[in-house]
Symmetry: C2
Subunit: 86 residues, 2 copies
């Protein structure tokens, strides 16, 4: 079965996020002065073919820790989106 995941990778809290800072500083110039805590990360959308969603999720966790993200400086959120159509 095919399972679709959203993998969200962002810098750990407390680490400087220059891209987020750049966005945040640009917003007031454009008229939006009520936005804070902007952080920019990566969004990876993928489909895993596996026997069940637990196996698929374990694999995505493994892929995130070893390849998609750097666990020293980044944190990962994984969301099972829906069963992808065959």
């Amino acid at each position: 079965m095919r399972f679709r995941f959203d993998v969200l990778v962002s810098l750990k809290e407390g680490l400087l996020d220059p891209q987020g800072k750049a966005v945040q500083q640009a917003l007031p110039v454009l008229g939006w002065d009520n936005v804070t805590d902007v952080r920019v990360g990566k969004y990876i959308d993928l489909v895993v073919d596996a026997d069940d969603s637990g196996v698929a999720l374990d694999q995505v966790r493994d892929m995130a820790d070893r390849f998609l993200a750097n666990p020293v400086i980044e944190e990962v959120q994984i969301e099972l989106r829906k069963e992808a159509p065959e």
Copy 2:
């Protein structure tokens, strides 16, 4: 009140996504040969201060269309995450 949003920006379907392709081609080399449809986009996490969630959501949509994403080639998903702590 403070509302926290996840903004997910990805290339529209059908458009070439070189970054996603690169990730997808690397996965089998690392032993994961059951992953398809990899697409890489941006993940923007932000907090909006507004009177209610509807107003906040409208603003985030506006920001996404005019600044965070390029609506010609990118599509945006916006999720109200939770009420951010004061």
